[in-house]
Symmetry: C2
Subunit: 281 residues, 2 copies
């Protein structure tokens, strides 16, 4: 794990690292924000919020645009931001579209060629990255997870598929029912093949009935989001939750869109939500 850069930020540190990923079989970069108590000569271990970004993003979008560090510094919470796909591979067609291939790993494990050996972002964010972070940085095993759009989908399935691994989960404008929208159908058929049965284990709405842990879902969604009708469908997730009494708090925010201006406006609420679950409040 090689340190690429460090920036002081709210008396803590924003750092970028590079490492070889065994899960993805390529080199990857990720970013971490360490709050003031976790840096310096006598660092204390702090819990971690994993943030999964949306289509086209890298590890940097959230760190530069969400304005989360001030609250994280106050709470004593680390934030880890992985990239959104394997990098540096140049598989055939990998860079042809913004919603498939590079920048669009969809946080699943691909089974179709040529994606299967590398596009295993689920294993990467759920297993390899936490192990790496917990082995090398001053963090506890207290983990929470959140994300935006494709990354909101990723956060929801990571929590639903791994009871006990995360203390809390939240999402901004998640692709809540990817089997039923164009972004999800393109990704799932490309990475997994055309049989929708194989898609079910990667769809938050379809995972709800079998969820063994009733972790409350906090979901924020803007009403002026251009993708709300065609791609996101939070109502399907709410319906699935209501059927089995899975706790969900869907907050609809009048006039907000899909941008980081929306995320920035409500990220502090999410950090407070995770801080409660992580024992920081």
């Amino acid at each position: 794990m090689q340190l690429l850069s460090t920036n002081a930020c709210f008396d803590g540190e924003h750092r970028r690292y590079q490492h070889h990923s065994a899960a993805l079989d390529c080199d990857m970069e990720f970013a971490v924000y360490l709050p003031p108590v976790a840096v310096g000569s006598n660092p204390q271990k702090v819990p971690v919020l994993y943030w999964l970004s949306g289509l086209t993003c890298t590890d940097q979008n959230f760190m530069q645009k969400a304005g989360a560090q001030k609250k994280a510094a106050q709470l004593g919470m680390a934030i880890v931001c992985p990239d959104t796909s394997p990098r540096g591979l140049d598989l055939p067609g990998e860079h042809d579209s913004y919603d498939f291939g590079s920048g669009a790993g969809f946080y699943l494990n691909a089974t179709r060629q040529p994606w299967a050996p590398h596009y295993r972002m689920y294993d990467y964010v759920v297993k390899e990255l936490p192990q790496l972070v917990e082995g090398h940085l001053p963090v506890t095993e207290g983990r929470s997870i959140s994300g935006h759009s494709m990354g909101g989908h990723g956060a929801l399935i990571a929590a639903l598929k791994n009871p006990g691994q995360y203390r809390s989960v939240s999402a901004f404008a998640p692709i809540a029912n990817p089997s039923e929208c164009p972004w999800g159908q393109k990704a799932f058929s490309g990475y997994l093949g055309d049989d929708p049965k194989t898609w079910e284990e990667w769809d938050a709405t379809l995972l709800i009935p079998g969820a063994s842990e009733r972790l409350p879902l906090l979901v924020d969604q803007g009403t002026a989001d251009d993708f709300l009708e065609s791609q996101l469908n939070p109502e399907a997730l709410v319906e699935a939750c209501e059927k089995v009494h899975h706790p969900i708090n869907l907050r609809m925010h009048r006039g907000y869109d899909h941008s980081y201006f929306f995320i920035a406006s409500f990220i502090d609420d999410h950090l407070e939500h995770h801080a409660q679950a992580l024992g920081l409040r």
Copy 2:
């Protein structure tokens, strides 16, 4: 003035506008953040903080990366971010380097060809843009000004050259004495010619002795800023201020660099400083 886009942000609005600039003789874009009290069906007029960005920036860097909107929303302060140079001209050599020409207007009025007819960013930010903003948006004539690096230089000279126009001024890592550093010398000789006498009216440190208004200068500077020694020289500004008892508060921040992670860490302090002067506190 044409509205390009609107994003809800902390219950206010981030908007981008395009307009034809008479001062620059080209089309320009700028961004504005309006706090909640200044939007909706019964908008109230609010004072404005003008933010001048550094080399290579557009109107968007500050709006996306500084995390200033939360505090501005609470205070009831608008923020206006102009671009950093004329755009769309393709003058000979205009795009050849990051520190001269496009993205590097240095907030002065050029006198040399081919720059003189267009590179008049001083007139644009001090005269034309405030007139435009005050004529079309719900803002008062209460104005403050701040900026970063090249934009910190711009904020300082705008305030020092226009007694009574700004209620307060501040800067992050300003190019404090441009006549004596490589960035400033390249820009001044290119835009103004080789006679250093003509540079003096565009150099904050050299303007201090003749300043008729003792507006206190708030200057934040990181000690780990890669450009501190070679380009920024806040000590020269402090020395000039001390000689004539011009009030200055230079805050040196241990370990902080030249990035927006530094700006984000201290922008709320600056907004509070300007809010006091603008009568919002």
